[in-house]
Symmetry: C2
Subunit: 636 residues, 2 copies
């Protein structure tokens, strides 16, 4: 019987939090972890406007970090074909960069149209009448946000585990811990940390460009074709179109996160649109160079896919062994991937809040928490992505087939929406703009189709099945809210508040100080008070009746026996009888329940919990109000 070290650590942590909570109060713990609550008006104060080159690293982490796993995801699909297929990584990376250019161009159109920022959901809602199209976009995006967290965190942990193989068996646990920490940071609020987060991205980009530069210098010195370089240009045996499409669609996982800048236009300093476009252009150039450069280096050095050692880690160690440069590259990869996951923790709750404000999701998701973040949505994201990590045991390559479909689906919807917009508004140069978006729509639609078809059996079916389900649930929720609003509307002119006839029932368990407290309260508010005692044997009933009489009968007492040792059942029957009594039935029944409140938490277990059951039970009855009258046991 051995307990893994992680489980023990987690148990110890929980115990520590609990003990600290008992001593200082749980409110203190929450304050310590999350910080003091913030006022609503602090929201606008917290928003700084950033010059574009400072906003760039924050907003590009999501896209740029995926160069760490995208090319490898593509190469993984080709492993079966042997070393003769390794050169195929080059055309695949080329096609990916081309796709990047097309999508960025159409997103720049989006910025021109929506200077206040607009993701796939907002654009779709704006340009399509029926809500289901925008809900498809929203569902697809939400699924991909969850996957972004899972893929980025697992890839980040894999980067570290490549350097320290001892961590391999604990990848799942470490990933979930990472998600937990990211969620905690975000519960505190992100505004303070934004600039802090930009440095690792700078560092990672510098590392990648340095690595590529070093590789090219090496090529120049030792020749572009080296002994370990695999053959080029010959289609390997077993090559099929399906296979290369599969590899391409896996490599396209590098393209998730393009939409981040277009959602965040409002955080740029004026002129906003210009700044955002500059950021887009710079990001595209750097990402394009990196993708091509890394793709070429992986090919030239004959790096192959290995379990638990990323291609990037292998490439780095070819040049630098496991020395300090390798360490810097490893940890900057880890950091940038974690920051990519972190940026999702802003996007996902905001999207959920937007959809919830349109009443397609529970309203709790549209409320800001203590620290002004949408804490409920944030916790939903943390839970779902942890679940994915556990189910897929933090294997990046197992998650890739589910990934990116959602993004491309929402790309397509947004592009079509933009196209419709240009065709409707017919502003300056609308034809050129509509053309660009049409090309974008067609390309992304094709990519979506290729994804769904080639990855269907590997996991894409989950996403394709989930989207209609999510849309249906959203529509059901919407219907509920709309109907409820209609039902609750009050005509203040015609429907005045009136007084009722109320019968109050006070449930006694003995004639003691609890009874003194509750009878006194009940007499003060009741029009028509009956004390009820339900005994399980004749003896106890006689005792209570005698005591009641000796006490001077403060009100009428109804004592009866229940043979089934149940309080709920006879009480229900009594209420039913009162409510259906002919002639003078009351408008309301008021049930009063004395509740013993111990001074120490564990003493709660020593007392009957039936009040909770009674309260939950009578929620079913329209005209029954249940009150609990606390009686506090003195501290002893």
């Amino acid at each position: 019987m051995t307990i893994p070290i992680w489980q023990l650590l987690v148990l110890l942590l929980i115990a520590a939090v609990f003990i600290l909570g008992r001593i200082t109060g749980f409110r203190m713990i929450k304050r310590l972890l999350v910080g003091r609550p913030l006022k609503t008006r602090e929201l606008s104060q917290a928003q700084h406007h950033l010059v574009w080159y400072l906003a760039l690293p924050i907003l590009s982490a999501d896209l740029y970090s995926s160069v760490a796993y995208g090319p490898e995801a593509g190469a993984t699909e080709l492993v079966g074909l042997g070393p003769g297929a390794e050169w195929l990584i080059l055309p695949i990376v080329g096609a990916t960069v081309l796709l990047l250019l097309i999508i960025v161009l159409s997103y720049i159109m989006g910025i021109l149209a929506y200077p206040n920022g607009g993701g796939g959901y907002s654009i779709a809602r704006d340009n399509f009448k029926s809500p289901w199209i925008s809900l498809v976009a929203a569902s697809a995006l939400m699924i991909d946000y969850v996957l972004t967290v899972a893929v980025s965190v697992s890839a980040g942990i894999l980067a570290v585990a490549s350097a320290y193989p001892v961590l391999v068996p604990d990848e799942t646990v470490l990933s979930v811990i990472c998600v937990g920490l990211i969620a905690l940071v975000n519960l505190r609020g992100v505004s303070e940390s934004a600039t802090l987060f930009s440095w690792p991205n700078f560092l990672f980009a510098a590392c990648m460009l340095f690595l590529i530069g070093w590789g090219v210098a090496n090529d120049v010195t030792h020749g572009f074709v080296q002994p370990q370089t695999p053959p080029f240009g010959v289609l390997p045996k077993g090559f099929t179109l399906l296979l290369i499409l599969k590899a391409f669609s896996s490599a396209c996982s590098s393209l998730t996160g393009i939409e981040t800048i277009s959602n965040a236009v409002p955080i740029f300093r004026e002129p906003r649109q210009k700044g955002a476009i500059k950021a887009y252009v710079t990001m595209t150039i750097v990402t394009g160079i990196t993708l091509v450069g890394i793709g070429y280096q992986l090919y030239a050095k004959g790096i192959t896919v290995k379990l638990n050692n990323t291609m990037l880690s292998q490439l780095t160690s070819v040049y630098f062994g496991h020395g300090p440069i390798y360490q810097i590259i490893t940890w900057s990869t880890f950091l940038v991937l974690i920051i990519a996951a972190n940026s999702t923790f802003t996007g996902f709750p905001q999207l959920m809040a937007l959809v919830a404000r349109d009443r397609f999701l529970p309203e709790a998701l549209s409320l800001r928490g203590d620290r002004l973040g949408f804490s409920n949505g944030l916790m939903v994201l943390a839970l779902l992505s942890s679940l994915l990590l556990v189910v897929f045991q933090a294997q990046t390559n197992a998650l890739i087939p589910l990934f990116a479909i959602g993004v491309f689906m929402s790309f397509t919807i947004a592009q079509v929406g933009m196209m419709r917009r240009w065709m409707k508004l017919r502003t300056k140069r609308w034809k050129a703009k509509a053309f660009i978006n049409a090309v974008g729509a067609i390309v992304t639609a094709l990519v979506t189709l290729v994804f769904s078809a080639t990855k269907f059996a590997q996991g894409a079916w989950i996403v394709i099945a989930a989207i209609p389900l999510m849309v249906t649930v959203a529509l059901l929720i919407h219907r509920h809210y709309v109907r409820l609003a209609r039902e609750l509307a009050l005509d203040v002119q015609k429907e005045p508040a009136t007084e009722h006839h109320v019968i109050s029932l006070l449930l006694l368990s003995d004639v003691d100080r609890i009874a003194l407290q509750s009878v006194s309260f009940a007499k003060s508010i009741a029009q028509d008070l009956i004390a009820v005692y339900i005994g399980f044997d004749d003896e106890s009933i006689e005792k209570v009746e005698a005591k009641w009489a000796a006490w001077g009968e403060p009100c009428r007492l109804l004592a009866f026996k229940n043979e089934y040792r149940s309080v709920l059942q006879p009480l229900t029957r009594l209420v039913d009888r009162l409510q259906t009594r002919e002639g003078r039935e009351p408008d309301h029944i008021h049930i009063l329940l004395p509740q013993l409140v111990p001074s120490v938490w564990w003493q709660f277990m020593l007392h009957n919990q039936r009040n909770f059951v009674i309260q939950a039970w009578f929620l079913r009855n329209q005209d029954v109000v249940v009150s609990t009258i606390p009686y506090h046991i003195r501290d002893h």
Copy 2:
């Protein structure tokens, strides 16, 4: 990602129960599984008095079934000494049978003294002044009841897994499922099943005697020393006293369950005591013959300890291969062990109820459930034994070191108690009786000491550490109940119920039909009503105030803004202010919370759950009563 078949089955089962529950109502499911509730007076009707030879198989299952694992547990300790030590099983079994005789004799004394049945707890409570001695007995017994379930079920599953090795990896899951089923049967109530349960025990005893007889016949035919018989009489290398004591104390796990008959004297037909003594004598003779017989056969046929194949299974297959006789023996072993676990499900809850009635355990454990069983205690037993099975992965031999200490400890306490009793009463032949109990006390005390010392590191320390902990908790619980009873005592002459000044606060979220319903109710019962609206922005506050005015101000409205988007905080402050207002503070504050009740369960998630938080929060305030006024959404 493979999901084990058992997990899938369990998930499917839960889903089926849930769907069935949604369709027919969960009450129906409970009825289906547990049966209709029974009236209190059906309790006495259900108790049949049994003639001794019918009571015997029911009451002896616990003791007799342990011959299936006791000798093997002893042999397991000697494995390290090699085949030269195998003959030591014979003196060990001999000593065990001797101990059995001594203990039975002292239990017969117990029956003479307590014709209404008395376990270790009752005898100790009766003969010792300070409660901690009887609590030690009770704790020791409770621990052993839990272990009986775990050991019996795991041994039963091992018996089956010996025949079907494919089941070995699933032993833990199967054991927990068995415990669940036994618990379910017991939730239904056991009276109906008692006679049904006696047959497997008859069958098992017949099988064992048949096996021994066949073995002896074989010995007579082929000679008592056969080729496979290990050497006899020579002390093997590495032999130590500690080792043989260890083996002996493991073998003593065959002796658990002796106390069952003495607890159950009231179920015998008159003359009770005579019947119980007859049952004791018969049980002792049969168990003694079986232990000696099986022990000798195991030695004579050179059976050794093997993982996942019990010695009993090996012995049986020596004679009968894996044919029908082997199957009958296997399944009757399984059944009798399950029935032994089952009998514990009567004893443990009864003991807990007894202790709870003395106010040393939560009172909920002393209440009879729908089917008249002590269902809470029953579920405690099921949970704890499942936990043990999971932690020890259903390995019988890993559980043995924890087992039997408790029983022998409570034996000792009971014997000393009996001794004190005889010395106090000085009835006829008191000296002889006291002598017998004194011998019993000394022997069982020695055995307890040997157990604790030899098995300490292997797990006995858990039991030895748990007992003082349990006693301390029991004493704390008792103190709480005693002090509470003193605090709650009411002097009916001097403390009449009086009326209070109550301020009612009605929390509104809008002026709508919910407000109509709740204001109407509140006006009917309140002396002094204030409607409270807490908004998060100025806009919503102005809107509500305007609507309220248009509605004709049914009562005073207090509308204010909270910058922290919290309702609880400003409400708490308001209550504090009202309670500490100088001059005319109220005796009570009555908070009224309108509660939206959807017609479909999932819609609960679409609405704010803050009422639950507010209710839980104000339980802290002595003089604040919280009521929820349900508003039922029409079915749509």
